[in-house]
Amino acid sequence: MIRLQGVTKRHPNGLTALADVSLSIAEGEFVFLVGPTGAGKSTLLRLLYRAEIPTSGRVFLARREITRLSARATPALRRQLGVVFQDFKLLPRKTTFENVAFALQVTGTPPDEIRPRTRAALELVGLESRADALPWQLSGGEQQRVSIARALVRRPPLLLADEPTGNLDPRTSWEIIQLLSRINLRGTTVLVATHNKLIVDILRKRVIELAGGRVVRDEDYGLYASQA
């Protein structure tokens, strides 16, 4: 599903965000990307949804090389994946339903399909009852769930999450991660960049640790911190 080959990302100001990173994630996997702030986790994710391009190396998504993907082809790429962020990124003046439907609206979905598919996404995250609420009326956890519903409404094979629990309390964080786990069990590949030590340690999924832009650890059933 995802493959990085010797990927290096150097910023114009001289900072090296990623250095010679190679990794491979298969379809259906659930992977935690851990490491201190500035280790390159966000940069790696941004390479995957082509918010940035690598300075050198190659990036593959679903066996297609996206290293030098043109800006024109990027929308099509992004329709193939869902991205969730720490700050939810919801439209403040749209309801839950409208926020999720938005993703279908602006990607050319036939109008008669929008309603049922939006409903299905809301059911998946357990928010059918809050369909008419505005973001300010929702709790942090609920907002994140709306965000996840929007990310999944087009049923992409890959879900990227950049610190999804960063703004949430421990219990809500746990609920969100459980949701992501459930989504993964349904077949979606999930990659989560996180600081949340507790969650990582409980779930014992594959853990890839970045430090200073390099992969320093990659183990299945991993813990947040190295066991060595």
């Binding site: 990124k89 439209l91 403040p92 993703a103 602006v106 050319g108």
Partner: protein, 293 residues
Amino acid sequence: MAAALGYGAAEAWAAFRRNGLMSVAAVLTIMVTLLLVGAATAVAANLRLMARILEGQVEVVAYLRDGLSPAQVERAAAEVQSLPGVRSVALVGRDEALGRLQEALGERVSLRDVIQTNPLPDSLEIALSTAGRAREVAAAVAAMEAVEDVTSGGTLLDRLLAATWLLRGGGAGAAALLAGVALIIIMNTIRLTILARRHEIEIMQLVGAGGWYLSAPFVIEGALQGTLATLLAALLLFPGYLVVVDRVQGLLPFLPLMEARILLPALGGAMAAAGVLVGMSGSSLALRRFLHS
């Protein structure tokens, strides 16, 4: 793409209303621009018409020597007719010339009382097919034996041509400048809309919305502003033109003015095209600058 346009139209209208006063300001400013450009064009069109008519009336008059036989006069006329640039030659006999002079003087003076013999010569009134050749024709005619003296509207015509050329060029320059101003104003207004909608733009980019969904709302809003401005400008300009034409023809009835029937449809079409074009370009540019920043 049709779906994107539908989405764009709905969003554009909502944004137009939400921006309220800013939209009004933009529309009014563009309207003023179009008004000025339209008025300038109307004036220029009329000047061109006048110039054309005046040019068509340019004449060279050749005064013939006394004592020529009818045959000699005829030969002279034929020779002039054959000159390049000459459209027609008319012989004005001396008696006829006297009659014209009397007419011009009116009833105040009776020439018969004042002069015994007719001092006026026979003359050839030479109409030109090309106003620019006046000088050459006058020179050629003056060189003829049978011709005593030649007059032509030479200098006056040159000045007229120069003036109209300047006005045309100046008008075009002013129009371009004003169009540029209108463009900048639209860019500014649309920039506000873009900033107000930056969250939507960000998320559209995130979920992979196609280019049309991104640009349609703004391009349509720009076109909307341009169209409204054109409508308002036309509403002011067209009746205004009719009034002005009426007044001017009252004062100077001999002045040839372009008929509203002919001028206004063409002018209206051009203004509409310009308005929409400026609107759409302004918003495209504003969006592009935002996305690249």
